[in-house]
Each structure stands twice: as C-alpha cells, then as structure tokens.
Amino acid sequence: DAGITQSPRHKVTETGTPVTLRCHQTENHRYMYWYRQDPGHGLRLIHYSYGVKDTDKGEVSDGYSVSRSKTEDFLLTLESATSSQTSVYFCAISEMQTGGYTFGSGTRLTVV
C-alpha cells in the first residue's frame, strides 16, 4: 500500500469548534491535496500544497485553512466547524510526472 495515512478516521464535533485533520505520507511526494466528497458533488478540491510552506486554495476553500511544515504532513483545519462541513475528507499525494493521485482512506467528519 502507498504510504499515506489520514487521522482520525472518524470524528464527531460540535458546531463552532475548531477541528484539525492530519494527512501523513512516507512517499516524499511534493504535491499534497485535500478534497471533500459529498453526495451529488463528487470530489471537490479544498486546498493543495506544492511544497513545504507552499499552499494554495482550491474550489471550496472558505472556512478551511491548511499548513505544511514538513514534507510528510499536511494539516487541514476547520476554523469553526459548521454543519455544512459534515463530509468525507480525502487527502491525496502525487508526483509531478504522472499527475495521478494516491488517496488516503478518508476521514468521516460529522458536525452536530
């Protein structure tokens, strides 16, 4: 299996609380991504990183921030969780040459 893990796998949190999801890779890939999957929407890009401390916004970045202080870790933070952020979150890594992604197993987040 590709060396990418997400934690936690499941989380229930209350509205208004901050939440941080972690993505860890052992592949030394340059690019890392956070997507959310929702019924009727497929996979939508939240933020991505093209190197340590280099990040940029994706299609649905409002309410989210990211940090990448080490090559292997990409953190996604919900500043103040809302019910609309209930979703399954996937982290992905890629090498530039192929453009294909390897995905983590996902984090199911429920905001109540």
Binding site: Y33, G42, L43, R44, L45, A92, F103, G106
Partner: protein, 114 residues
C-alpha cells in the same frame, strides 16, 4: 460551472457484458485524463489514464477512449465482473499548469449483476 461532467449517476450491467461509462469536459486546456474507482469506506484508486496525444489506452479489461473534438471520453470494461461494482470518477488536468490539480466529475455508480 462544472468542467467535468458525468451525466449518468448510475449504471447497471449484467456480468460478462460490456460496461461503458461516459465523461464530458468543457475546459479545452485539459490534456490528461484519468479514471478512478472507489469502493465504499475506501479512498479512490487510480484505474487508467490517457494523454490528449492519444485516442485510446488499454489495460487488461479496461480501455479508455478520448474524442478531443467532442471533448468526450469513455471507459469500457469488458467483460464486466461483480467486483467491478463501485463508483467511477472521471478526472482531468492541465499538465501545463504545473500544479497537477485534478478536477473530478460527480461519479457514476456501476452495479454489475451476477
């Protein structure tokens, strides 16, 4: 504004027959296309890809066809097997953009009936 469209949310096919999953795109800058398969409670896994310099790519039972003029691609699975039952996502990217962001369609749920 959906740049990658999978207009069929679901598809049912008999085991042994051909499954054809379709995908349309609107962004003319896209030049690399991929298909991912996703089982419940798992992350998507890469299936097959095609560059815009080709019109066909095969890998075993899976073939992807690209029609650039129509901005259309399709995934053929022959013969279909029950283990192929999953959600299939079409994705596209512009390799010249440098960031290799993939834009995904909404997915098509394939059910292969034994």
């Amino acid at each position: 504004d959906q740049q990658v469209k999978q207009n069929s949310p679901s598809l049912s096919v008999q085991e042994g027959r051909i499954s054809i999953l379709n995908c349309d795109y609107t962004n003319s800058m896209f030049d690399y296309f991929l298909w991912y398969k996703k089982y419940p409670a798992e992350g998507p896994t890469f299936l097959i890809s095609i560059s815009s310099i080709k019109d066909k790519n095969e890998d075993g039972r899976f073939t992807v066809f690209l029609n650039k003029s129509a901005k259309h691609l399709s995934l053929h699975i022959v013969p279909s097997q029950p283990g192929d039952s999953a959600v299939y996502f079409c994705a596209a990217t512009s390799t010249g953009a440098g960031s290799y962001q993939l834009t995904f369609g909404k997915g098509t749920k394939l059910s292969v009936i034994p």
